[in-house]
Structure formats: structure tokens, C-alpha cells
């Protein structure tokens, strides 16, 4: 599969580029990855940070509303912020991004007014600054004008606002192009992108297929959808074919995932490199041989090196929700495997390993 995705440029050019900039990419973890454990109180904030640091993933990204109870409606006590800084210092980590939400549907039946949305973003800028973050992550559905209106404030606080480019959206989608145009027109360096690697889904994830089969999709239909995805068949044809194969309910739902996912090309990031400041290392499963079977990380890292990306790739484990009905996710082991993969692809000489014990 990988061979067919090779970029067309010559290998010679590619190797020269890699040699020149191979050390600029850093490893991090979004604590989203440990959600199955933190939700149940099985891992504390310190466990999450210590585990990430032990793996050499020293960049820490959070979703403010997940890591800090109370944010934003009730605020966050200074002692909780102090504890964050204590843990970051104790494990020699770096705060990377506070992912904010902006619930513009907070009021039933009416959208939050523009000025209130801007004020809400400024509130998250303040929180990001309190946590020592370089970036705050904006969800992709937010109006670009809201972000532009908050850009000067972000600049003052030393924060960049990064819109998360996430499947089904991608760098050639008109909505993303509209954001890019608004950012350029603003002239602000405080606005940028945070691509989620799930948009480069080059194979149908095995954990998705297995989940759909557990909820009743016949194997013949599941096999067909998986193959049709690899063959890049238009989603609407696949949905029709599944219906004509007798597929109902879960089978149609499985086919409809093709509407929201596609194998976009990692090289599409190259046009936007000056505004790409953080990367979500999305993964659905890491196998024992350190391969993510559905997302082409070797090609992704090659493109990021070629584009002279200087920033973090933060692990974002999202297989949890696809397996939790059948087994308890082991988020730490999944993150460990991805960090080993990333370290190898980045040419690091020491293999990450867990040399400390996570809380019992």
C-alpha cells in the first residue's frame, strides 16, 4: 500500500531534505489518549504526565474541559493551575495546547451572539496562558471571523489559535480554504492550523470493521466495504451496493463512514506549513509490531520533514470507543506503541519504554 502512495518527487531530493531537518519534530501526548482510564479515576493527572514523560513524549496537550473540572462555566482554582505547573516542572515537560470547545449552542434554540463567542475565545486564551500553553485548539466548525476577532488578543498573550483540520474536512475543502483566506487577510501570525492525521485514513481501520461485525454486520458485507474503501470507491456507490446486498441498520452505518473519511494525501499539508504549529497523532490501533494499520505514519513523517515542520506530534488515541464494548482499552500500552513508532520514524537512537510504574 505504501509504495503506491509515494510522492512523485525524486528520492534524491527527499533524502537531502530529511538529512537537513530530521531533528525538528518533537513527541508529545494529548491526554485525550488516556480518557478511558481518567474517566474512571484509574489514572490521575500526575499518572498521565509521568507516563508520557517516561516515554520521552514531553509535550503535553489537554482538553481543558476534560483535565480541569469546572472549566469553563465554574472556572478553575489557582491551586489546580499551580498543581499543573508543579507536575509539568517535576517531569520536565512542556505545555503545548489547551483544546477549547466554544459551545456556541449553549442556549437552546438560538446561537451564541458573535461578540459573546469572541469573549468566550478570549476566556480560553486567558486559560491557555495561565497553563503556559503555546497554542489553543479551535474546533473546525467555528466561524473564522470569530477567530480573526480574537487574534490580536491572542498575540498579546503569546498564544496562537489553531483550527483543527479534521476528517471529514481536509486541506482542499472550501471551508478550510475560507479559514486560510481569512487568516491571510488578517495578517496575523496568531492564527494557524492543527491537522488531525485521521484525515489521511488510507485503509479501513480493523477496529472499526470488528466493531461493526459485533453489532451485526454480516462478514461478506464488512469485507466488501473494507475492500471498497481500499479501492477508493465513492461512498454513495458503496452505500447503494450495501443496501442492494441486503444490508440494513449497522451495515448501512458502516458504509456511511465512507462519507466522513477518506484517504487524503499527507502532502496536501505542504502548502500550509507556515501556519501548521501542532499535529494530532490520531490513531485507532497500534499493533504489536508498532504499525498503525490504517494511517500512513511513514509517509506523514516524510512529508512533515520535507515541509520543515518544527513542532510536536501529540499522540491522540481514539481506538478506545471502538473496542470498549468488547474489552477494556489499554491506553497506556497503545500510546507506548505509537511513541515507539514515532521515535523510530524520527530517527531517534533510544527506543521509548516505560521505566516508571503507572498508578496501581
Amino acid at each position: 500500500m505504501i509504495a503506491s502512495l509515494q510522492p512523485t518527487r525524486s528520492n534524491e531530493t527527499m533524502e537531502q531534505t530529511e538529512v537537513a531537518v530530521s531533528s525538528a519534530i518533537l513527541r508529545g501526548v494529548s491526554l485525550y489518549s488516556y480518557q478511558n482510564e481518567t474517566f474512571q479515576g484509574k489514572m490521575s493527572l500526575e499518572d498521565c504526565i509521568r507516563t508520557s514523560a517516561a516515554l520521552g513524549a514531553k509535550g503535553i496537550e489537554i482538553i481543558g474541559e476534560q483535565t480541569f473540572w469546572g472549566w469553563p462555566e465554574c472556572g478553575v482554582a489557582q491551586e489546580d493551575v499551580d498543581n499543573w505547573h508543579r507536575l509539568i516542572a517535576k517531569y520536565d515537560c512542556t505545555p503545548v495546547s489547551h483544546d477549547f470547545m466554544l459551545d456556541y449552542k449553549r442556549y437552546k434554540g438560538r446561537e451564541m451572539p458573535f461578540d459573546e463567542q469572541v469573549a468566550s475565545v478570549k476566556n480560553d486564551i486567558d486559560f491557555g496562558a495561565r497553563l503556559g500553553m503555546k497554542f489553543i485548539r479551535a474546533l473546525v466548525s467555528i466561524d473564522p471571523a470569530v477567530l480573526v476577532a480574537a487574534a490580536d488578543y491572542a498575540q498579546e498573550k503569546g498564544i496562537k489559535i489553531l483550527i483543527e483540520v479534521h476528517a471529514p474536512l481536509h486541506f482542499d475543502h472550501p471551508w478550510i480554504i475560507r479559514h486560510a483566506e481569512a487568516f491571510e487577510k488578517s495578517g496575523s501570525d496568531a492564527l494557524g492550523f492543527l491537522p488531525d492525521m485521521g484525515m489521511f485514513l488510507f485503509k479501513f481501520p480493523p477496529v472499526w470493521k470488528e466493531k461493526f461485525m459485533r453489532i451485526g454486520v454480516p462478514k461478506a458485507i464488512a469485507d466488501y466495504i473494507e475492500k471498497a474503501y481500499e479501492d477508493r470507491v465513492l461512498s454513495e456507490y458503496v452505500i447503494l451496493n450495501v443496501a442492494q446486498m441486503g444490508g440494513t441498520g449497522p451495515a448501512i452505518a458502516m458504509a456511511e463512514t465512507l462519507r466522513h473519511n477518506a484517504a487524503f494525501e499527507p502532502k496536501r499539508m505542504l502548502d500550509y506549513m507556515p501556519r501548521i504549529h501542532n499535529i494530532h497523532g490520531k490513531f485507532y490501533q497500534m499493533d504489536e509490531d508498532y504499525v498503525e494499520p490504517s494511517i500512513p505514519y511513514d509517509e506523514i513523517v516524510r512529508v512533515l520533514k520535507q515541509g520543515n515542520y518544527q513542532g510536536y506530534i501529540c499522540s491522540e488515541y481514539e481506538g478506545n470507543r471502538w473496542i470498549e464494548d468488547a474489552q477494556e482499552p489499554d491506553s497506556v500500552e497503545q500510546v507506548r506503541r505509537q511513541q515507539v513508532m514515532l521515535a523510530r520514524l524520527l530517527g531517534e537512537s533510544v527506543e521509548p519504554s516505560l521505566n516508571t510504574t503507572v498508578a496501581a
Binding site: 474517566f39 474541559e65 476534560q66 465554574c74 449553549r106 464494548d325
Partner: protein, 124 residues
């Protein structure tokens, strides 16, 4: 997500005029209470009317209608809220509790409802 972790095991207890159990929001973050569109509870297959349900978190109790305009409180990530059903009470023994939450999430192009069913025991 978190479907099978919504109802907290062993949390069924008696309340004045009904029963309660502990419930968690099936989501990777918390949510302001105004965005909880509905909480649906049934016991042994029988639905509890919406107006007979109360939501209690950190000592504050709300009706579901009241929650729709609560902008200063949250159901935090993984937080165990007490879900109260004023159905007149429940006899001792095992009961099938079904608990569903419908939430309004700004960035989603649909309104998700997530459901969990568990057998919980009411002490004698």
C-alpha cells in the same frame, strides 16, 4: 462512547418518593447543564416521566426543565451525578435500569443519545 460506563455499579438506593443511582456523562469532556437536552430513565422496562426525574451534582438538584437554562454549573468529565426518579419507590431486589442522555454538542451535525442498561440491586 463510554456507553457501558454510564451507570455506576452498586449505586441504586432509596430516596423520599423514589429511587436514585449514580450516572456519568457519556463523553470525553464535561458539558454545561444547559446542553443536557434530556435524561431518560426506565426501570424494568417502564419509563419514568421526564417531570419525575431530578439531576443532582455537588449538592445542587435540578429538574430537567430547569437544567435547560443553567449556565453556571456543569456535569464534569467522569463526574458521578445522582439521578433521582420520583416514581413512588422500588421494592428490594434486582432491577433493570436504563439510563439515556441526549446532549446538544455545538460541533456535531447530529444530536447524540447514548444509553446504558444495567442490573442494579436494591437492598432489602
Amino acid at each position: 462512547m463510554m456507553d457501558n460506563k454510564m451507570i455506576v455499579e452498586g449505586s441504586l438506593q432509596r430516596e423520599d418518593g423514589g429511587f436514585s443511582f449514580l450516572g456519568r456523562l457519556p463523553y470525553y469532556r464535561g458539558l454545561g447543564l444547559s446542553m443536557i437536552e434530556d435524561i431518560i430513565v426506565s426501570v424494568d422496562g417502564e419509563a419514568i416521566p421526564r417531570e419525575a426525574i431530578r439531576f443532582c451534582v455537588r449538592g445542587r438538584t435540578y429538574t430537567l426543565d430547569k437544567m435547560e437554562t443553567v449556565y453556571d454549573n456543569r456535569w464534569n468529565f467522569g463526574e458521578k451525578a445522582r439521578i433521582i426518579a420520583l416514581n413512588g419507590g422500588l421494592p428490594a431486589g434486582n432491577h433493570a435500569i436504563t439510563f439515556a442522555v441526549r446532549m446538544r454538542v455545538s460541533y456535531l451535525p447530529f444530536v447524540p443519545t447514548t444509553k446504558d442498561t444495567k442490573q442494579l440491586a436494591m437492598a432489602a
